[in-house]
Every structure is written in structure tokens, then in C-alpha cells.
Symmetry: C3
């Protein structure tokens, strides 16, 4: 519980109203009660502001006149809300120390301020830094390193030779360092190419649940500082993802693809292998990226949704597009008239 | 082993043939032997009926004349087959009790008729009701609740503040309650928005292997009664899925999307965020849903498969579609002639 | 460490240069140092050959003149490189025996030369053959069988009645044998069809991280010898994948689909159910396969990526394609002029 004045100080905002108002939690404008702090970041919700029962609202100064409650004034209400969530987050209990049912190799180095959960397995040569939390059933393979303050949720797997930076969050069932999909055709079928590289992940990286990051074939797969990756994303061997790039769920990157800094890939995007995408590129949902992108901007592919009947009529014409264009060109010729 | 007459009684069907015929298992029309019960639900398999060696066949009365064996007569053979599978399922051994290698918090409540497998971790404040089966290596986070009769297969993860209803099935490596993908842009990169909501799942819900359901940002993510979700599906924060809706594999729902009741989403569908889909909507495979749907019916997007050569010729014309339409419009103008 | 001459012998290649040159590892042409072996398989990298600092390079005899270092000569450099990776792979420590924290059922059969990791659970009736490695937290359900030499990485799950052949590799968090997505509509919602079949996987199969293979409804789901499957692939119940077929990441196969031998499915492909794809078919990335394929060759669907602005202009015309075709046909009629 914080007073409005305390919140203003902690969040670097001005306040309007009762400095002693007690705020117990965060809620949406529609769901908030008198003990809650809500926020207005998007004009679309202005009508909800007028009827909110929130004790206080984070908003831009221009909206204070329409706010029926106290408020925290800021030019960036969404960012202020993000910071407020950290004040109200109920952190999981994570006492430092190694759970008696964890199996830590004798030559692994575990900082006394790290917390190692039940059934965790830490292999030889691993280094676990201060403040790390490894949830139940996490596996950390030989010679991998988990940087200070990083949290790994239960059942995630870190193979050998994976280096994770500081203050990362790895969600459950994510896999870091599985073999890249490398095979050569031999006389009797596929012959496996052992994947001898590792994975290097920077600081403040978040990896979603069920996401897979393959180890490199010879060099490492690299994810730079501040990258955020959603659930069920596949990052193939030898990809390199630039700083502060965001990748939404169900996206797949093929091998050796290089993505620049400050890019956003929406959900379900596919990127072919050996491509290079420059900084500040935005890819809309379910786009297939088939060539390198050298110019910042927004890119898309796909067709619009329609009723299945209408779609079928149009889709069949897609298969005739080349002939449609030829027929049109024929009509355009002077001799055609 | 059941007699034909017993099966008819248990399944609410009529029978035709030897009431004492012994049926030991279920099989397809093509694979069945004299001790097996097969079924004919789809006219396409009529030819297989005529040559089946099954001891008995579940079918509609209209097909009994073409059946060389005994039969169980019903107007809904597929539903009767579904119910028959439950008679012949070999259930896994699930003795009630807590495995000595499970780690259950002292203040968690585990019903004596629940079965808690090896290496399971149950955190503080959790409630596990009667008849629940938690497979090996399952994790259940603080204050979560698993309703009576629910089965969780090995290595699935349930974060904190997740409420699962009765008689659900959660398959291996599914993740319920991981953080939603919420970040605000700050001066130095992405700032995490702590996800303070939970997940609420109704009764008789099935969640496939590897599927991820994120916790809500402030309110809960909600999956209503009777929803069935296939493998490797991503359900983002604050989605709400209505009763008896079915979602096939590899589908992804972006945040805050609301899906009505009795909808079916085929495989590989993507639904953008903050959309609303009404009841009784059917989305065909790999469709990108880019806007809300207010009318029941079937919806699609995409282009038809073709040989790569033909596809390339047509796909390049897609990029010229707007100019094709303009050229056509020019030809249509009276002055063009 | 090998001498160049030893490598030539082991890899079945000729060598050119100092037979005693000591090679300590593998590296890319660009990253190699004097103790490394590099390779040139693709003409695109010829310029890197000329400046490489590698101690030796695997290449075709025709390029030896441009190689500044010693070399290993072969007509198939990529295959020779694949084989070289096996010489330099640092295998994980896998001592035979059962970890004291594994839980093996009394009537399971575990070969003394198998290695069973910490927190592994092996249920009744399971057979684990010689040389098998089960990583930490792996679960093997009742009556399943893991063939000699197969390696299962940590946290993978094998349900009951799954038969895995010899020399397979199953990556972390893969799930083999989860229930197929089978439900019948009943009067009160979906009724589960118990999945009574199993999974049969041949020899030398590789299954990627997070990939799911569902058990069959009545018959088994089958993956034949030599098949390779990447990460986050969904293989539904009763699929059959032919020998030496390769399936890249994020692909989904719906139920009862049959894929021939020596096919390649690129990433993000979707295949509808009950289809049949013949041998030697290649499907390009993100293609939706909506019908059976009876002729070997390459197949595609989708639209080309463009800037979002250009794409929007063209995509809206896609919805008018049928009318565009009709308007064109009207212009083509003699009476239209």
C-alpha cells in the first residue's frame, strides 16, 4: 500500500488530489475500485475514464479535467503504468540457497545469493551468478552461465555452452541451445551435422514460454541486449537478433538470419534463412519475409480475410492472375481495338 | 471385454446380431478383426464396411443391410464411437497419494483422493481437489487451484494464481499462466509491465501439448467451460474464449482478443489483438483474422497452393494488382475506346 | 586433435599440404585460425576462401588452387564437413547407470549400458535398450520402448505405448504420444474420443525441441526411418511420414495425413488433414497444402512481401479479383466494343 504522494515520488509524476489517498493495487479503468490505481494511455478509453471508480488514474495533464478521481500526471502514462506494475507485483518466494532435491555438479559455481529450486540439475562447469532464480525442474547443461539477476521459470531447459546475460527472464518450457537443424544428404539418407556452436544472450532479454533457440553450427546464435521474445517462437541456428528488437508469438526465423536493432516482428511471421533485415523494420502479422530488407519501414504479405464463399471465388482467380494480366495487356494494345 | 448386448446397453444403441458376441477392443473398419468393434460415421468408408472383418460395427440403421457383421445401430455413430472409446481406454495407473519425491508446500491443500506424481512441486496456498492427477515433474505455482477430476500430464507447468476447473485435461509441456507479452518503450529500451492478472479455466477444458496460455496484465485471461485447444497454440494475455469453442494446432491469438461460443478455429490461424469474434464463427486453416467478426459463418484468407513455377508467375502479379485494376478501369471508360 | 593425414583417412578424403598439421577444431572460413579446419561447400564463399586463416579447408579439387592453406579434397565437401563435425563434437558425459534420483518402475527393463538421468521417471513395462541416454526430468510412460543408442534430451516427454527406434535424437520438451485432437459433438458440447493408438518411430529419427507428435486414435501415428523434424512442429494423430523426409520448424500437419519418402517441408507449412503427398515433394515455406499431391515437384502458396502501403493497395484488390476477371471478360467480348 502506498499513498498517492509516495507513488508520485516513486514514479516521477505530479499528483492531483489527496496526497494521503491509499492505493492498494492496479486495475483497469473499468474494473478499478476506490483503492486502485488505473491508467489512461489510449484516447479510446476516454469514456471509461469518466465513469471509473478508481482511487487515482495515471494520465496526461490534458485529461485531468475529465477525471472524476485523483490522478498522477505524466506525459507518458503507459510507461508510468509499466513502472507502477513493478511496485505492485507480488514476487514469488525465492529464498537464496540450493533446494535439497537439486542436483548441482561438484565443480559448478553457484553464488550463495542464487536460488536453485527443487529437482534442478546443474551440470559441470556451470556458473550461476548472484540473484539468479532457477525454478523447479530447470536443467542447465555443461559450462553454461546464467548472469546475475536472471530468472528461469520451471521446466525450462538450457543446454551446454549457453551464456545468458544479467536480468533476463526465461519462461517455462523454453529451450535454449537445442541442436540447429543441420543435416547433409548422404548416400543412405540424412547425416547429422553436429552443432558445435553455442548460444549467447545479452542482458535484459525476455524469452517466452515454449520458445526455442537453437545453438549455432560453428559460431554462436546471438540475441543482443534488451531483446524481447514472446511464446512459441523458433529461432534457428546462427541467427543474430539486434538490440531491443521485439518478436511476437508463433514467429519462426530460419537459420543464419540477421535481424537489426529496434525491429518489431508481429505474430506468426516467418523469415527465410540467410537474410538480413536492417534496423527499425516492422513486419506485420503472418508476413513471409522472403528477401533481405535494406530500408527501415513496415512490411507485409498475405491476403485479407473474407467470408469463405467470397474468398473461394477470389482465390481461384489468384491462380489466373498471370493470364488476367496478359489478357489485359492484349486489350490495351492499339491493335486490340 | 463386453458382450454385444452389454455394449448396446452402455452406449444406448440397438443391436443386430448375436447378443453374446464378445468384443475386446476398438479398431478401424480396415484394421478390425473378429473381436473388434468398428464404426462407420462417414459415407466415404462404405466400401470398407462391405469388406470389414470386424465382429461388430457401429452404424446408422440405413447401412445395416450392407454390413457383413453384427452391428450397433445409432443415429449418431461418431458420438457413439466416442463413448465407446471410453469403455476401452486403458487408464494409466494413478494411485491416490503423494509420491515420496514430490515437494508439496506445508500450507498447500491436497485432497487425499488426489494423485501427485514424482518430482511434482506444489507451492504455498495451492488447492488440489479430489481425483486430480498431477503427472511427474508438474509444477503448480502459489495459490493456484486444480479442480476435481482434472488430469495434468507430465512436465506441464501451472504458474501462480491459475484456477483450473473440474475434469480438465492438460497435456505435457503445456504452460498456463506465463507472463503476457507486455512492455512499454522507455528511454533505454523495453520496460517490462508486470503481469498482475491470472488465468481462469472452466470445467471440461482440454489443453494440448506445448500450448501456452498467458496470464492477464491486470484482469485474468479466461477460457470458459468445454473449450478444447490442440497442441502448440498460443493464447495471449487477456484473451477470453467462449464455451465449447475448438482451437486447432499452431493457432495464435494476440492479446485481449475475445472469441465467442461454439466457434472453431482450424490449424495455423492467427487472430490479431483486441478483436471480437461472435458466436458460431468458423475460421478455415491458416487464416489471418484482421478485424472483428460480427456475423456467424465461415471465414478464410490465403491463396491456393500451386506448383512453385505457376505460383511465382501469379504471385508477382499480386504485386501489380492495384495497377491491373486501374488499367482495367481505364479501358472501361467510354473515352478509352 | 588430429593430424591432417589422420583426418584424410577418417573422412575418406585426399589431402594436400603438410600431413602432420595439427587440427584442433572446426570453424567457418571467416572465423577459422591456424588450428582449425574450415570448409567450402558453396561457391558464394569463394572470396572468403582466399582470405581464410584456416589451417586446412575441406573443398572440391577444382578450388585447391585458390586455397591459401592446406586442404582436404573431396567431391562432396558438405557431407565431409558433416562427418568431420562428429570427430570434433564434445559429447556430454553420459555414464551408464541409473541416477539415484531417477524413479524406475520395478518391472521396467533398463539395459545396464543405458544412462538414466536425475529425476527421470520410467513407468511399468518400459524397455530401455543399450546405449540409450535419458536426460534429466525425462518421462517415459507405461509400456513404451526406447531403441538402442537413442538420446532423449532433458524434459522431453514420452507417453505410454510409444515405440522409438535406434539411434534417434529427441530434443528437450518434445512430446511424443500426447492425445490426438479427437472429439465428437454431443448434446452438451464436445465429448472426448479416447486416443487408443500409439506412436511408432523408426531408426535414426531426429525430433526437434518443443515438437509434438500425437498418438493415434485407433491405429498408430508413424514416423519412418531417417525422418528429421525441426523445432515446434505439430504432427497430429494418425499421420504417417515416409523415410528420410525433412520437416522444418513451425510446420503443422493435421490428422491422418500421409507424407511420402524424401519430401522436404520448409518452415511454417500447414497441411490439412486426410491428404496424401507422394514421394519427392518439396513444399516451400508457409505454404498451405489444401489437397493431395500426386506428382513429385515443388509446391507453394502465399503472396510476396512488400512495403505495408503497397501491400494494402494490392490486398484490397485481391478481394475484387473475381469482379476484375468478370470485367475483363466483358471487355473481351466483341460486343463490348
Amino acid at each position: 500500500v502506498y499513498s498517492l504522494e509516495e507513488l508520485a515520488t516513486k514514479l516521477g509524476a505530479e499528483y492531483s488530489g489527496d496526497p494521503g489517498r491509499r492505493i492498494k493495487g492496479l486495475a483497469t479503468l473499468a474494473g478499478a475500485g476506490p483503492g486502485d490505481l488505473a491508467f489512461l494511455a489510449n484516447r479510446r478509453y476516454l469514456s471509461q475514464l469518466q465513469s471509473t471508480r478508481a482511487g487515482a488514474v495515471i494520465l496526461r495533464p490534458e485529461h485531468v479535467g475529465q477525471c472524476p478521481s485523483d490522478s498522477l500526471l505524466t506525459t507518458e502514462p503507459y510507461l508510468t503504468y509499466a513502472r507502477a506494475t513493478r511496485l505492485f507485483a507480488r514476487t514469488e518466494s525465492t529464498e537464496p540457497g540450493v533446494h535439497p532435491r537439486a542436483a548441482v555438479a561438484v565443480d559448478a559455481t553457484v553464488h550463495p545469493q542464487a536460488s536453485i529450486g527443487a529437482n534442478v540439475v546443474v551440470e559441470a562447469g556451470v556458473v550461476i551468478e548472484a540473484g539468479v532464480v532457477l525454478g523447479a525442474n530447470v536443467y542447465v547443461g555443461r559450462a553454461s552461465r546464467v548472469g546475475a539477476g536472471t530468472r528461469v521459470w520451471p521446466n525450462a531447459v538450457i543446454y551446454h555452452d549457453v551464456r545468458l546475460g544479467r536480468d533476463c527472464v526465461i519462461h517455462s518450457n523454453a529451450v535454449l541451445g537445442s541442436d540447429g537443424f543441420g543435416f547433409a544428404r548422404g548416400p543412405d539418407g540424412w547425416e547429422k551435422i553436429e552443432q558445435l556452436g553455442g548460444v549467447r544472450i545479452g542482458d535484459r532479454v525476455e524469452i517466452g514460454a515454449g520458445t526455442t533457440v537453437d545453438r549455432g553450427a560453428l559460431d554462436d546464435t546471438v540475441i543482443e541486449d534488451g531483446v524481447i521474445v514472446d511464446n512459441l517462437v523458433q529461432i534457428a541456428h546462427n541467427c543474430r537478433i539486434g538490440k531491443n528488437t521485439a518478436i511476437a508469438g508463433c514467429t519462426g526465423l530460419a537459420g543464419s538470419t540477421i535481424i537489426g536493432e529496434n525491429c518489431t516482428l508481429a505474430g506468426g511471421v516467418g523469415v527465410l534463412g540467410h537474410l538480413e533485415i536492417c534496423n527499425n523494420v516492422h513486419i506485420t502479422a503472418m508476413t513471409m519475409v522472403t528477401k533481405s530488407i535494406e530500408k527501415p519501414g513496415s512490411y507485409s504479405s498475405g491476403t485479407p480475410m473474407a467470408s469463405t464463399g467470397a474468398w473461394k471465388r477470389n482465390a481461384v482467380r489468384f491462380s489466373q492472375l498471370d493470364s488476367i494480366q496478359r489478357r489485359l495487356a492484349a486489350l490495351e494494345k492499339p491493335s486490340a481495338n
